[in-house]
Amino acid sequence: MSSSNAVDLARRARLGWGIGLALLVAAPFVGVYPVFMMKALCYAIFACAFNLLLGFTGLLSFGHAAYLGAAAYATGWLVRSAGWPPELGVLAGVALGAALGAVVGFIAIRRQGIYFAMITLAMAQMVFFVCLQAPFTGGEDGLQGVPRGKLLGLLPLNSDLVLYFVVLAVFVAVFLAVVRIVHSPYGQVLKAIRENEPRAISLGYDVDKYKLLAFVLSTAIAGLAGSMKTLVLGFATLSDVHWSLSGEVVLMTLLGGMGTFAGPVIGAFTIIGLQTYLADRVGSWVTVIIGAIFVVCVLAFRKGFVGEFNAWQQRRAKPAE
């Protein structure tokens, strides 16, 4: 009974993803502003990367903006000042995200739980100061006017519609990659570490190696999100490496539902949508509202939209048994 129930749920989840994809494909044709959609998709990629760590490995990185921001700067500088084509710029961003993640991860996995969060936050602040002071990042102004160029020398990205579908394709690839990673034997070990680290160790798993690989995978994808974001918006600024963005990605994941596949995506669209909508209307109160959502989420809504929805589905399915 319960296994058919699970199959049923999985089928429903896939149906939900199908509907979501159809909506995303249709969005630019029904009048949704494509740049907003692209920005939201980039942050959705970012949140998926973050969720791979928090949701599926149980590691709270409180400095994920560093990888997004560093990659955003790298791509911006390479494409604008060094004249690299966009695809190489993005690849370089991903590589930088992964390399930075390898260094920080190597240091941070020496401590667990709350210390891990503090260490990643501190290391991210270091990246922030480097971006603030380095000669090629433009200091307070950031890197402005990054051209989109042509993908592989063919596809003109200056068209919002073309770039939108490129970003959407990247997003779908990341989403499926995360699903694949989580369902792989490796992903199962990550879940085991999340649930009970000492037991995973006693079963003979080299836990640190698994955690480090998860960290690097996550920071590489975060780098991808940052690089794409630079191409979309044409700039990289200090707010891309600031700790408030590290907090926002936690909120996106928590609000949507951590440890679920669709949760971070829904969370990212909600938060970016909210910020875009509120920005001109309420000024500094955006921060207050984001903070309040944080507090409410932690106190009363820890499963997030998707988690609560799944729990509701399960409750509904039970009486029929």
């Binding site: 501190a122 290391m123 903070g291």
Partner: protein
């Protein structure tokens, strides 16, 4: 007179500045450690409480003519009361769940506080003048010591050592330490643990506010001053290990000094030196300099 090619006066001046910063690190990391010990919450809002302390001093002077010394008493009481309310209404729901939620909730609180203060007072820095009795400087022979800076270092040492004494040498402190080890057992002995937890958070908040008042005359008062500092204090706490009160104090002061020294010899690195030290300490002694491996 010169030392390593740098005028002695400038060298000692930077060291003193480092010591002043270190005093704030010490006071804040002390409060963080005590709160974490009893509540299991890494209080991200600690920076916001520090910021509120500075604003109480500034507002008190601007609106009510409250002088520095009264602010030094009033701010901890007001901000401590805010802390008590926060603990009673919000934090108490988190004690049974994973520690990361405490960090996230207090992060949300810090955002709320910052947003409100930014809306009310803008982002530009406010000035708070040094109290009259501490203006001027004293010539020590080898250097000229600005009186207020000397006062900050001494005052924070007194506050830190006082806190250490209360926790390590009094009966109240013994309850507190016992509560950190095993709250259920302490409660069974007839001690009101929830009340103790509430007062601890209030006292931690008050300590942060007092640091804020002390900082007001030497920094720009801005809504963001707390968050920028708290991240460095997190690194200080990781370096020192949260297990020991004296460890927090010593680490805070020492890192302030190191930062000051870096400003003298390689100013570009002064904003990241604490983080670099944190990375090195984690490689050599993951539990922190004064921490116990758990």
């Amino acid at each position: 007179m010169e030392i390593f090619g740098i005028p002695l006066q400038a060298f000692l001046g930077q060291l003193l500045l480092g010591l002043v910063n270190g005093s704030f690190y010490a006071m804040l990391s002390l409060g963080l450690a005590v709160i974490f010990g009893l509540l299991g919450i890494v209080n991200f809002a600690h920076g916001a409480l520090y910021m509120m302390g500075a604003y109480v001093a500034w507002l008190g002077l601007e609106k009510f003519g409250l002088n520095f010394w009264l602010a030094l008493v009033a701010a901890p009481i007001i901000v401590g009361a805010v802390g008590v309310v926060v603990e009673r209404t919000l934090l108490k729901h988190l004690y049974k769940i994973d520690h990361i939620y405490g960090l996230l909730l207090t992060f949300g609180l810090a955002l709320i506080a910052e947003g409100i203060f930014r809306d009310q007072f803008g982002v530009s820095g406010q000035q708070y003048s040094v109290p009259e009795s501490l203006q001027g400087a004293t010539n020590l022979g080898f250097m000229v010591l600005p009186n207020y800076r000397g006062f900050v270092v001494v005052a924070s040492l007194v506050i830190c050592l006082g806190t250490w004494w209360v926790i390590e040498r009094t009966r109240l402190g013994a309850y507190l330490r016992a509560g950190t080890e095993n709250p259920a057992l302490v409660q069974a002995f007839g001690i009101n643990v929830p009340m103790m937890v509430m007062l601890t958070y209030g006292a931690g908040a008050g300590l942060a506010a007092m640091a804020g008042v002390l900082a007001a005359p030497v920094i720009q008062i801005t809504p963001l001053m707390g968050s920028n500092l708290i991240i460095i204090v997190f690194a200080v706490v990781v370096i020192g290990g949260m297990g020991s009160i004296m460890g927090s104090i010593l680490t805070g002061l020492a890192l302030g000094l190191v930062e000051g020294l870096t400003k003298v010899f390689y100013p570009e690195a002064s904003s990241i030196v604490v983080f670099v030290i944190m990375a090195i300490v984690l490689m050599i002694r993951p539990a922190g300099l004064f921490g116990k491996e758990k």
